[in-house]
């Protein structure tokens, strides 16, 4: 018998602190497998965020730096500029990346920093106990949107890929839900492309993984995955938004008014 599946060696062989059924674990594995597959584990440096995945610094067995809440892209910038031969990735939740860290994200993208951002969108602040995230859906109840998110009060959820799609400097951009073996396989291929983009020096790469937070959502894990598939993907359509660098244009009222 040969081994058809085993723990990637890029992940430390210790139990994680994540809740039962939390897809952070799947995302970790995809990154670890990619580091091995692309043979870059040895020059990889990961930036752990502030969020449930802060302890990712213990799980990824490569060099790791813990960053202040939201600032991982800035930390990654400093690191990558000092060591262009390092393979630098950040691993960030929606609160970290899209709320407090919005400026650092957009500017790292616009600078076209050759880094890979793994973005875990679980529509909530898991770590701090289930508060509203910038990606919390309309109507979703959280501990700080107790009556359900209502645009007039709590505003609209932010779509990170759609936003970054408009930023020149971005070279790869995709969104995949971590909800089934097929989707996980797709996610893995996207994670791989996001690292390859860095290796080829093309620019900024981000993969958004639609994830579950059974605890924060108050749902059993399987129901949580169904909710991702049925509710989240409606507002956050999966797919590849960008696969090459270039000028995304835009322009007034849909016209692509600008030259590349």
């Amino acid at each position: 018998m040969r081994v058809a599946f085993e723990r990637p060696s890029a992940l430390a062989d210790i139990p994680t602190h994540y809740c039962p059924g939390c897809t952070h674990g799947i995302a970790h594995r995809l990154v670890a497998e990619t580091l091995e597959e692309l043979k870059v584990f040895d020059r990889a440096v990961g930036i752990a965020p502030v969020g449930c995945s802060v302890l990712a610094y213990n799980y990824f067995d490569c060099d790791m730096v813990q960053a202040a809440h939201g600032r991982a892209p800035a930390v990654a910038t400093g690191l990558k500029r000092a060591r262009p031969d390092a393979v630098v990735f950040t691993y960030q939740g929606d609160g970290d990346l899209a709320s407090i860290g919005m400026a650092e994200l957009v500017h790292a993208a616009a600078r076209g920093e050759c880094i890979t951002v793994v973005f875990i969108n679980n529509a909530i602040y898991g770590m701090t106990g289930g508060q509203m995230a910038p990606t919390t859906l309309l109507g979703q109840h959280t501990s700080t949107s107790p009556a359900g998110r209502e645009p007039g009060r709590e505003g609209f959820p932010i779509r990170v890929c759609e936003l970054l799609e408009r930023v020149r400097g971005v070279a790869y951009l995709a969104r995949i839900p971590l909800t089934s073996p097929a989707n996980v396989a797709r996610a893995r291929s996207s994670v791989r492309k996001a690292f390859q983009t860095q290796l080829e020096g093309k620019g900024f790469a981000l993969v958004e993984l639609l994830s579950s937070c059974p605890t924060g959502w108050g749902m059993p894990p399987r129901e949580a995955l169904r909710w991702v598939d049925e509710v989240m993907t409606e507002y956050y359509p999966p797919g590849e938004f960008r696969t090459e660098p270039g000028d995304p244009g835009g322009g007034p009222a849909g016209k692509r008014g600008s030259q590349p």
């Binding site: 018998m1 599946f5 996980v184 399987r222």
Partner: protein, 78 residues
């Protein structure tokens, strides 16, 4: 006794049941007993029905599952 194709590191299992839905053979079930963490762990007894497709393992957030496959490749999805 059949050779094991799918192995669960029981103490790492958090009983989330995500592997259940992933298995095309529907052979994974949750054990009656509790593991050291207080969860009912996932298990497979019907090892010969396992195709070694590893879909369960790819959905397990906690890397509980190791999958072996006979040297001659099966037809299952890789």
């Amino acid at each position: 006794m059949v050779e094991k194709r799918v192995l669960f590191t029981e103490d790492r299992c958090k009983g989330c049941e995500l592997c259940l839905d992933a298995c095309p053979q529907k052979i994974i079930f949750m054990a009656e007993h509790m593991n050291g963490k207080g969860f009912h762990p996932a298990a497979v007894t019907d090892q010969e029905r396992c195709t070694g497709c590893a879909l369960c393992a790819r959905m397990c957030p906690d890397l509980v599952i190791t999958v072996y496959r006979p040297e001659r490749p099966t037809k299952a999805v890789s």
